[in-house]
């Protein structure tokens, strides 16, 4: 019963997210991108069950969401392949699920280059998922660059900021 309540409220949440998305795309003065809004948020029929939320929340590899990288690098280290494999399987089993991968970089170097570097990292994770059969329509890649990074880290401590975070739209 409690679980059902939870699922209901999650469904409600995703509906709110949908409405919010609809609003934010209207006041554009610029060209906009037709595929951005419609494709991406087109999960009307999705239910909490179809999205397998319990699976996502379980204490499995799916709860691990960060892939870390070396300085100025975006190749995926072997230790993250299991994590990526689990997420690929999840996406393949739940067609309505939508993933957003958010790339990050440490503060060293320029803001713009780091934005591109963070993007390369999110794309590297996406491509690893593609290789396991996940369709592009289930994934959006974005980057935050160094904008939310620790601006005072020293050497090794900056490694925490060189990462790509996996998030799901329903969350």
């Amino acid at each position: 019963m409690e679980e059902l309540q939870l699922k209901k409220s999650l469904l409600l949440l995703s509906l709110v997210a949908l409405l919010g998305a609809g609003c934010s795309s209207t006041p554009l003065d610029g060209p906009g991108d037709p595929s951005a809004a419609s494709n991406y948020y087109g999960t009307d029929a999705a239910t909490a069950e179809a999205l397998g939320l319990d699976e996502l929340r379980g204490n499995t590899l799916l709860s691990q969401r960060s892939v870390f990288f070396d300085f100025n690098k975006y190749d995926i280290k072997p230790e993250y392949l299991d994590l990526i494999g689990a997420h690929a399987q999840y996406l393949n089993n739940h067609a309505p699920a939508r993933m957003i991968i958010k790339g990050n970089a440490d503060y060293r170097g320029s803001h713009e280059y780091n934005l591109s570097l963070g993007q390369k990292r999110s794309v590297a994770v996406k491509e690893a998922l593609n290789a396991l059969g996940v369709d592009d329509s289930q994934i959006e890649t974005i980057s935050y660059g160094e904008e939310y990074a620790n601006q005072e880290c020293q050497a090794d401590a900056c490694g925490q900021d060189r990462r790509a975070d996996i998030t799901y739209e329903v969350e």
Binding site: S24, P27, L28, D29, G30, P31, G32, D33, S35, A36, Y40, N72, R108, G109, S110, H111, E112, Y113, L115, S116, L117, Q119, K120, V123, K126, D136, I139, E140, T141, I142, S143, Y144, G145, E147, Y148, Q151, E152
Partner: protein
Amino acid sequence: MIHRIYSLFFGILLLFATPIYALEVIEILGGKASEIPIAIVPFEGLENIGGQKAHQIISSDLNRTGLFRPLNTRGISNSPSSDININYTKWSSMDAQFIVVGKVESENPISGNIKITWSLIDIFKEKTVVSMRYIGKKSQYRAIAHKVSDNVYEHLTGSKGVFHTKIAYVKKVNNKKYSLNVADFDGFNSRPILNTTQPIISPRWSPDGEKIAYVSFEKKKPVIYIQNLRTGKRTLLANFKGNNSAPAWSPDSRKLAIVLTYNQNSQIYTINADGSGIKQLMRSNAINTEPSWAPNGEDIYFSSNRGGSPQIYKVNINDDEISRVTYEGKYNLSPSISYDGKLLIFLTNDQGKFKVAIQNLISNQVLKISEGPADESPIFAPNGHLVLFTYKDYGKTTKIGTVSINGLKRLPINVGSSIIQEPTWGPITN
């Protein structure tokens, strides 16, 4: 080192239009000796207006450029306030090659307007270079003093001064509040033009002076806005799928180069300032970002890791022909081109220290002009003689400052104790 400064500098000075004093400027080149000794004499009369003094403003302006060495004029008695009865021997013995004298008077007691009369005098030639008079409101006092600096600069170097221009920068407070601010080039008279709770990066002033394009994370991802400075109204230039960033104006202010990702890696596009006519510039599997439009309107400089590590390249927008520009160092970013297209500044990683470097695009000679260790965001002044950049104050808080292109003068711009980053420099206007 001094030789390198000399030769790079010599090249730059030859590019100047023919000023009255071009010969003298070139003759005294070389290291510290290249700074022209000049005495800015305290102005007579009502010089102190609300704690501001014209001679201090002018002195500080000229000092920033690395081309002048303002002499200490404190305690000098019987100072002149006009070009009449100048004791040339006395000023010559103080090593002054030029002096600036003037007076500040009330022009109209009812309106409160002030009148500033001033002269630039050549001590060696024993003659007046220029005499002028400005009338304005008291609130325009700093602006008038900057105008005097501009005139002195132009007469002695042949290039326009930038002392009357504006800059913009991003202020970040507690990782929670971000604002885009506009200020005089020296940091005075700052005011916010945008307040938000999400990061703002890459502001770029349009060459016509009317607008600033910038990247905002307000929509939970980077999108590009253009804000009109007169009306304060802003429009969304680019909100395509993925990231939208790195706006760079074309010289005629009608187009921008921008960077989009569309679920892939960063690529450069051109777009009209009204948001129409989007067009991809070139394709590659590497990062292409940080476009900077050359003044010829045909070349776009950018950073790319297509050769492994990031370097500066340029692409011709008509035929997509690409050539590599930087070869010194393994990590070069953030290109900015001088107004005449002859100098490039960029960020270089010098054994773990990020410094500003300048490259003469004719000789390809490179000179590092800042010390690091965490400098960023170099951007040219509109006359190409100064560079605005960020550095970490005491190794911690990011601040803005200027460095002269000969590397001689690095000075902070004080706009408060918060994190100050991502600067841009407005054009010279009349």
